[in-house]
């Protein structure tokens, strides 16, 4: 199954909406262990993506994703700006010049984006960050696709594992970001970054699901 450029633009539109809808929720999660701005910051960033989209939506998928990353970097303001900005820019790099994406492209993008986040934030799985949603999702996506399951089913499974990763962040102490100042006291709280990462993966899963109906 292929995703086209217009699918990518539609998914980005859906992500703008999901971030807007969860602005308050993400900010409340962040208020418990961070600086209470995750939802507000991401919403600013993705609204700017929506506003600037007409300037680059006719380019190839790689260029679109790189532009999205640049907009996030220059508008978000908090740590999620450089992190998600790097994620989208690195994804864009591996699909430079493409107008459609196959399953291998999607895996390569996700891998490049995640390793960009790890480099940028110097974090790894278990640090109570967005990586705790992304890494299990990527592993499950790869596993499901290698077993020959279709993209729809594989992304759905990936989103489920991302959600389990989010729930797991409640049981661990933060080692990165503002929450790390709380140390053990951050246990019991769900990580806002992992939550936003899950919401985005779920958005992709829901879109692919609709596409195949």
């Amino acid at each position: 199954m292929l995703l086209t450029k217009s699918d990518v633009v539609n998914i980005l539109d859906d992500i703008v909406k999901i971030v807007e809808d969860n602005r308050q929720y993400l900010t409340e999660l962040d208020a418990a262990i961070g600086d209470a701005d995750h939802g507000i910051n991401l919403d600013r960033g993705f609204k700017a993506v929506r506003d600037k989209m007409p300037q680059f939506s006719d380019k190839d998928i790689g260029a679109i994703l790189k532009n999205v990353g640049m907009v996030l970097v220059s508008t978000v303001g908090g740590a999620s700006g450089p992190l998600y900005g790097t994620f989208f820019m690195r994804m864009g790099n591996v699909v430079s010049g493409k107008n459609t994406l196959d399953e291998n492209d999607i895996i390569a993008m996700f891998e490049a984006g995640l390793s960009g986040i790890k480099e940028r934030g110097k974090a790894q799985a278990g640090d109570k960050t967005m990586i705790d949603a992304m890494e299990p999702a990527l592993n499950e996506l790869k596993r499901a696709l290698s077993e020959g399951r279709g993209l729809k089913e594989a992304i759905e499974a990936a989103a489920n594992d991302a959600y389990n990763g989010v729930l797991m962040t409640k049981d661990i102490a933060a080692k990165k970001g503002r929450a790390s100042y709380l140390g053990e006291r951050s246990i019991g709280h769900q990580d806002p970054g992992a939550t936003s990462a899950y919401l985005m993966i779920k958005t992709v899963a829901d879109y692919v699901d609709k596409l195949q109906q």
Partner: protein, 130 residues
């Protein structure tokens, strides 16, 4: 002379620290600052950091002083966005923002090179106050 760029989540912190460092050095060196987001929230702004680095580079390099969290990542991204001509000339100090900025500014104003200025900024971590 080495230039200094102050990066903080808060515009007031960046402006106030600029004021202190500029007074200490009597306007002898270029000091830039970026605090807060474009739309006036607390946060950091990669584009502005890039512009400030360019304004403060006079040939001897620029040292960036940062506060916390996204300041570090935004400064690192700014370095990646700079053109080739800046490669190897801009450094980020692993230093406390206020003490490091004052120490680095004074060191830069006596003509030290970027590595020495960075070393002095980072040594500010060990400053004993009482």
């Amino acid at each position: 002379m080495v230039g200094i760029v102050i990066v903080s989540h808060s515009k007031k912190v960046a402006d106030g620290l600029y004021e202190l460092a500029d007074q200490m050095t009597g306007g002898k060196i270029r000091i830039g600052r970026s605090g807060g987001t474009k739309d006036g929230r607390l946060g950091t702004n990669v584009d502005e950091i890039v512009e400030e680095i360019k304004k403060c580079e006079s040939g001897d390099g620029v040292l960036i002083l940062v506060d916390l969290g996204s300041s570090v990542m935004s400064a690192q991204m700014a370095l990646e966005f700079l053109d080739e001509e800046y490669a190897g000339k801009v450094e980020i100090a692993d230093a406390p923002l206020v003490e490091g900025t004052i120490a680095a500014s004074v060191e830069a104003s006596i003509g030290s090179d970027i590595l020495k200025v960075k070393e002095v900024a980072e040594a500010a971590k060990n400053l004993v106050k009482i």
